[in-house]
């Protein structure tokens, strides 16, 4: 029953978007309740669909669109867990926003845009073909642009929106190029009759793509998957296209939570997971036994995880710390797909998706807590906070839970062979599995670099998040502000999310089992490495937790106990600190050198020169422009308004035609 109406999952928020946009001003709370009701509807249908198709069903609907393309819905395990997560997190954030945005005059626009965003994101998730996926993906990007620049009167917000739009566009162009290349390749193998599309299937459907992937030229396939990954790098803020994500924090905090933590940025990971069979099918030219595409995914992900974590250490803007943390965690998800994908096959999708969803819960929670703090103290700078624990207990405790989850705190009883299950936060379960996957990859393939990056990043993660927490909530207040706990409409979503951040991890085994079956259901075989059971030593099993706790202790020592005088370390004389604080000079490199000097200076200036001097000046003004307008004037004069002239022109034209044809055919 729910499966049949699953199109409503997308259509309800679309409807809410239209209604809120046009009628929002006349409704209470700027029309906030329409999107809330609609997204609640989407969530209920997603949940109902899940219950219906669990454990091994799917929803497939498809309508022909044009020229062999289709519009369709594919709800398989992978999609359904994403659908539930997106609609649920979005629902909570919408409720929270009723309080957070209460004083903003542009509420109808806000709620309309977030509603459209949710619809687009849900449409990304349940697309059954790559074209629809791409269109929704672009719509997601557009909504993100609109929402980052929501306070468009702020120059920094407008600049951030522009940056996000342009940087992700780089990825999108690559993604589109990948789709075109894929289309060309599939058409090619269809014309050579090596492959045919069964009736009822369409050319860019995922199932067709996976079938065709086996027959496409391997080099081309690597290129296609890497182009897809290029899109994912842009959307998920992976190195080197990560720069837009921290800047995107210029939007309202709810937007940061919704888009730049929980949902949109995961679209890139979802894309790789969705097209995972194609990544697995790429040849192994670089490292034997590891598909090229996966190797690159693993290294880009691992490097991003570490690289972003280092910058998270020194940021002073509470939201920027979280932004770098998001970039870093997305790196983990990519790392999981790459490393575990190479050794464990389809299980990697489960591991990555599990972290994705766990992360959505605790990162949304972190952002909403940050929002609550900002709401209370009116600044983003953690140097001006401190001592808020007593004043905002709910926020402080829920944020502590989220920080523990991010640091991956827990105890691996089962991992050490004890007869009780592992106990820990959601992040513990999900991140441990990733690190373990990286370790197994290292053992099997003899390449420990990804594992090293993952472990080091885990240590840094724990340090920066507890630095944030200690500086915000403990110690003495460092500025005169009358902080107060946020209203119930804001704290209740915090508590709900905290429960998920605590308990979601226990669904680990069931989750893996369910999502792993995804590609089996689609009849796609993924080669799985069958090695001997993997038993690392206890110290290795404990290592992620140990570095997590170590990180907390380091933070505690420095930022709470003040055992180390930070002022010496953070003085502007320290080159490492300067490098990190300036974000590896990436904004400078990106904005000033590439953006201003290169793009503006060379490309834009010469473009402008060509445009103004040559095209406009010479061509438009003097040649084309003058000619066009002169022609316009001449023909306007031809249009005398005297009907005799009209008749003459008609007859003249007739005569000319006859002469033309006489020249061509002769002998009249």
């Amino acid at each position: 029953m729910f499966g049949e109406i699953s199109a409503l999952i997308v259509l309800l928020p679309v409807l809410a978007f239209v209604l809120t946009l046009f009628l929002g001003k006349k409704l209470p709370s700027g029309g906030a309740y329409l999107p809330i009701a609609a997204i609640a509807g989407s969530f209920i249908i997603s949940l109902g669909t899940f219950l219906e198709i669990y454990p091994d069903g799917m929803v497939q609907q498809s309508w022909p669109w044009f020229a062999g393309m289709n519009i369709g819905i594919l709800i398989d395990p992978l999609a359904v867990v994403m659908l539930m997560m997106v609609s649920f997190v979005s629902l909570l954030i919408h409720i929270y926003a009723v309080g957070y945005m209460a004083h903003d005059p542009a509420k109808p626009r806000y709620f309309a845009e977030t509603s459209l965003f949710t619809a687009a994101m849900l449409s990304v998730v349940l697309s059954d073909n790559i074209l629809q996926f791409f269109i929704s993906w672009e719509l997601v990007g557009l909504c993100s642009f609109l929402l980052i620049g929501f306070w468009y009167h702020k120059p920094s917000a407008a600049a951030a929106a522009k940056k996000a739009f342009l940087v992700t566009r780089v990825g999108d162009v690559l993604f589109l190029a990948g789709i075109v290349l894929l289309y060309v390749n599939i058409s090619e193998i269809i014309t050579t009759r090596a492959f045919s599309i069964e009736p009822g299937n369409f050319i860019l459907q995922f199932s067709t793509m996976f079938e065709a992937a086996k027959l496409i030229d391997p080099t081309q396939l690597t290129l296609i998957t890497l182009l897809f990954f290029g899109g994912a790098v842009g959307k998920s803020g992976q190195f080197p296209l990560h720069g837009w994500l921290p800047d995107a924090m210029e939007g309202p905090t709810t937007v940061s939570a919704l888009i730049h933590a929980a949902t949109m940025v995961t679209a890139g990971v979802y894309l790789v997971a969705r097209t995972f069979p194609m990544f697995v099918a790429t040849p192994d030219t670089i490292s034997p036994g590891v598909p090229d595409a996966l190797l690159i995914v693993a290294y880009v992900g691992g490097f991003t995880a570490l690289f972003a974590a280092t910058m998270g250490l020194v940021m002073n803007d509470i939201k920027r710390v979280l932004a770098y943390s998001t970039v870093s965690q997305l790196g983990y998800m990519m790392l999981a797909l790459g490393t575990a994908g190479a050794v464990l096959g389809a299980k990697a999708v489960g591991i990555s998706m599990f972290h994705l969803i766990a992360h959505a819960f605790f990162k949304a929670l972190l952002f909403l807590c940050a929002g609550s703090v900002i709401h209370a103290v009116g600044t983003n700078d953690i140097r001006e906070m401190g001592g808020l624990f007593g004043k905002m207990k709910i926020t402080a405790i829920t944020m502590l839970i989220a920080a523990l989850a991010l640091a991956g705190i827990g105890f691996p009883f089962a991992g050490l062979g004890m007869p009780i299950m592992n106990i820990g936060t959601a992040g513990f379960f999900s991140k441990d599995a990733i690190i373990e996957g990286a370790l197994e990859y290292g053992e099997v393939k003899g390449d420990m670099i990804p594992y090293g990056m993952a472990i080091l990043a885990a240590l840094l993660t724990s340090i920066y998040i507890f630095r944030l927490w200690f500086m915000t909530f403990t110690g003495k207040p460092r500025s005169e502000r009358h902080a107060h706990e946020s209203p119930g409409v804001m704290t209740r979503p915090l508590m709900i999310l905290a429960i998920f951040a605590l308990l979601f991890g226990f669904s680990q085994l069931g989750f893996y089992g369910y999502v792993e079956k995804n590609f089996e259901l689609m009849n796609v075989e993924i080669a799985v490495h069958e090695g001997e059971a993997f038993h690392p030593s206890p110290i290795i099993v404990m290592l992620p937790v140990i570095v997590g706790v170590l990180g907390i202790l380091i933070s505690y020592a420095i930022y709470n106990r003040r055992m180390l005088d930070m002022s010496k370390l953070v003085s502007s004389g320290n080159p490492i600190y300067k490098l990190l604080l300036n974000r590896y000079y990436e904004p400078k490199l990106g904005a000033d050198i590439i953006g201003v000097k290169l793009t503006h200076g060379v490309v834009a200036q010469s473009g402008e020169f060509i445009d103004r001097k040559i095209i406009d000046g010479l061509v438009i003004d003097n040649i084309i422009g003058k000619t066009v307008f002169m022609l316009g004037e001449i023909v306007r004069k031809l249009q005398t308004g005297v009907v005799q002239n009209y008749a003459s022109v008609t007859l003249l034209g007739l005569g000319l035609l006859i002469i033309l044809l006489k020249i061509k055919f002769g002998g009249i």
Partner: protein, 488 residues
Amino acid sequence: MNYVLLAPEILLTVLALIVIFIGLLVSDRSKNMLGYISAAGLVASLVYVLGTKGEGSFFYNALVIDPLSQFFKLIFIVVSLLAVIASIKYFENNRNQDEYYALILLATVGMMVVASANDLVSLFVGFELASMSTYVLAGFEKKNPASLEAALKYFIIGSLSSALMLFGMSLVYGVTGSTNITAIIEFFKANPAVSGLDVIAMVFLVAGFGFKMALVPFHMWAPDTYEGSPSVVSALLAAGSKKMGFVAAFRVLVLALVALRADLWVTFGILAVITMTYGNIVAISQRSIKRMLAYSSIAQAGYIALAFVVTTQMSIAGGILLALGHALMKGGAFIAVAVVGYMVLSDNKNAKNIDDIENFAGLGKRAPITAFALFVFFLALAGIPPSAGFIGKFVLFYSITIEAVRQASTWFLIVVIIAILNSALSIYYYARVIRYMYVLPPAGEKIKEPAPYVIAIVLAVIGTIGIGLYPQPFIEMAMNAANVVLGV
């Protein structure tokens, strides 16, 4: 013979007579209902056209019902319907409404007869029925000199073109000994050698049809007429009756040319390229929006005429699709201009130049629905997706590019490039109006947009975007119609 297939024509003819008859009986005020009756009749015949499947021929093969005729009937009825709905407001309380609606209905019947005509005589009769009715409609605002001038010019040039067309037809009859198109084609197939007389006959036909299509150099009447006529009639002329020329050309010229194996693509290529370039260039310097739309309409005719250049199934389907899209976009745009006219006149009863671009300043604030609809129509006319205009142009340009590659013809490629450059050029003058509507400050208060206008333009917007979003059924219909054109 299954006369059910002709039910739409019969229905509309009877309705036209009933409308006139009611007009005799009722008071002037009650005549406002005639618009609703006409609209209902058009909806009913639209349902007939869409609902009846099957093909047939009638009256000794003088009329045929096939996918081509049905597709163009769809266009004609939709345009008339839009015009009639908008006229409910435009001619509200006019005491000559009965004649007005009867003429619109008869003009529609004329166009539908042209769409179905399989005989030069029935073709001519359909042409004349539609032309005579629209001559009067163009001059329907008796007290407005511009309207009268428009009608008179239209009438004179129209008569000239009819004469040329009739002469062409008589030459065809002289050569082939028949007026039936099927028989003519058979004759040409049997005697494929091109004689001088064949070609002259074709040229006269091109001139006659070209007048309706407003191809350069047979276009001179169009800007004056579209500008001077009541906006709703301009919608009918630009969006509807213009397509008569295309369906006639598809049915007679393409089939005859294919049968004759006469390679006329140079002729049509030159006509198409000149027409689109001319239309776009002159449109740039216009201040009157109706005149700008007239020139843009000429340019669009140039694009559609590209279908004759390669005469493949896909190119003809593209031309037909663009004809459908153009009907919706241009019809809707003229009706939107009518709303602006209504707005300006309600500001100032004696306003002159009511469609001047200055009057569009701040339209986004004054009449948001109209402004948004115009925005959509302009983007669609410029060929931006997702819109009917994009689909038509895409299929058309794509078909020519394919031919260019297949035949390794640089000329085809040049034609496509010119067409694409033209599309880019056209964005300039559309964007100018969009700037006026959304950037410049409004000159007056927000107005209440009258419901009939809103219904008409919203229907056109839905059609324009709907075809852009879900083109498959229309592409299929157009492909079927193209098969008829090619005699497959």
